[in-house]
Amino acid sequence: MYRTLRLCSSGGGFEALPEPPRPVDLARIRAALESAHVPVLDARVMLIATLEVEVTISRAGRLLFKTADPAIADRAFARLRPLLEGGAPGGGPAGHD
């Protein structure tokens, strides 16, 4: 579902989009994050998870990693991706565009 991490348009962070586009169940993701002891803020239409970096998770499934450091974004993405795709947190590094 999530394949690549790319620099966002304003250049201040990295983003990942579900492919094909698919909304996510924020309540399920919130519960999964909490069970993995990841601090998460629920703003109803999005979640903000605090991993090594803050990550915004929108209902449309867009992830925004608030860092311009690709290595940090990679690590956070690798931890989040399996969780968003239905598995447990963890996994290897992501690829870049």
Binding site: G11, V45, I48
Partner: protein, 208 residues
């Protein structure tokens, strides 16, 4: 000359608007609405750097109020219609600026808004947003186009700061309203304790 409060976002427009009024000899204070966690820390750092340039150029202290706005955004997301989120957000920004103005004895508010640059900057949205405050609002850039504003920003040395990388506001809805209805906006705000929200935010403001 009069004393005013300027809303500073870190973007290209607000330092240019401030430049015009400082050049005329007005005394200004700055208010930055701190949108974290819906942005990163880049907007604040840009505002700080803009003010360093303008303070030096015009020999004015220009105090900066950094008003926390993230908790207000969360409340708006949880309690109100997302479609009008930008207008509601602006109404809280204006109210915060007006509260600072009252505290500081300022008599007008200033913004770098220009018509039609972004979805929220339509006449009906501006009207809905500014109906939340009583002080007069000055918009030095209202009739300028983006190229004119950028040219001035380059000439005063703020353009490069404004265009540094940063995370855009994540609280902006996918389809923001471009023609807001004040009646609907007021109905949305009935769900909120507006005064309490503003009190909390301005009380937690940090002055730099």
């Amino acid at each position: 000359m009069a004393r005013g409060v300027m809303l500073m976002s870190g973007g290209i427009d607000s330092p240019v608007a401030m430049h015009y009024l400082l050049r005329q000899g007005h005394e200004l204070l700055a208010v930055h609405m701190d949108n974290r966690p819906f942005t990163d820390d880049s907007p604040l750092s840009k505002v700080v750097d803009h003010l360093t340039i303008l303070r030096e150029r015009y020999r004015q202290p220009i105090p900066l109020y950094v008003v926390p706005h993230g908790s207000t955004q969360i409340t708006l997301m949880r309690e109100t219609d997302r479609h009008v989120g930008c207008v509601l957000c602006r109404r809280f920004m204006w109210r915060s600026a007006e509260r600072v103005a009252e505290r500081e004895g300022a008599t007008f508010l200033v913004t770098g808004e220009a018509l039609g640059q972004v979805a929220s900057q339509t006449l009906s949205n501006m009207r809905s947003a500014t109906a939340s405050v009583h002080l007069p609002i000055v918009r030095p850039l209202i009739g300028l186009d983006k190229q004119e504003i950028e040219a001035v920003a380059r000439s005063i040395g703020t353009y490069e700061i404004s265009t540094r990388p940063g995370v855009c506001c994540q609280a902006v809805p996918d389809k923001p309203a471009t023609r807001s209805n004040l009646v609907q906006i007021l109905r949305e705000e009935e769900r909120l304790d507006v005064e309490q929200i503003i009190d909390d935010c301005v009380r937690k403001a940090v002055i730099l």
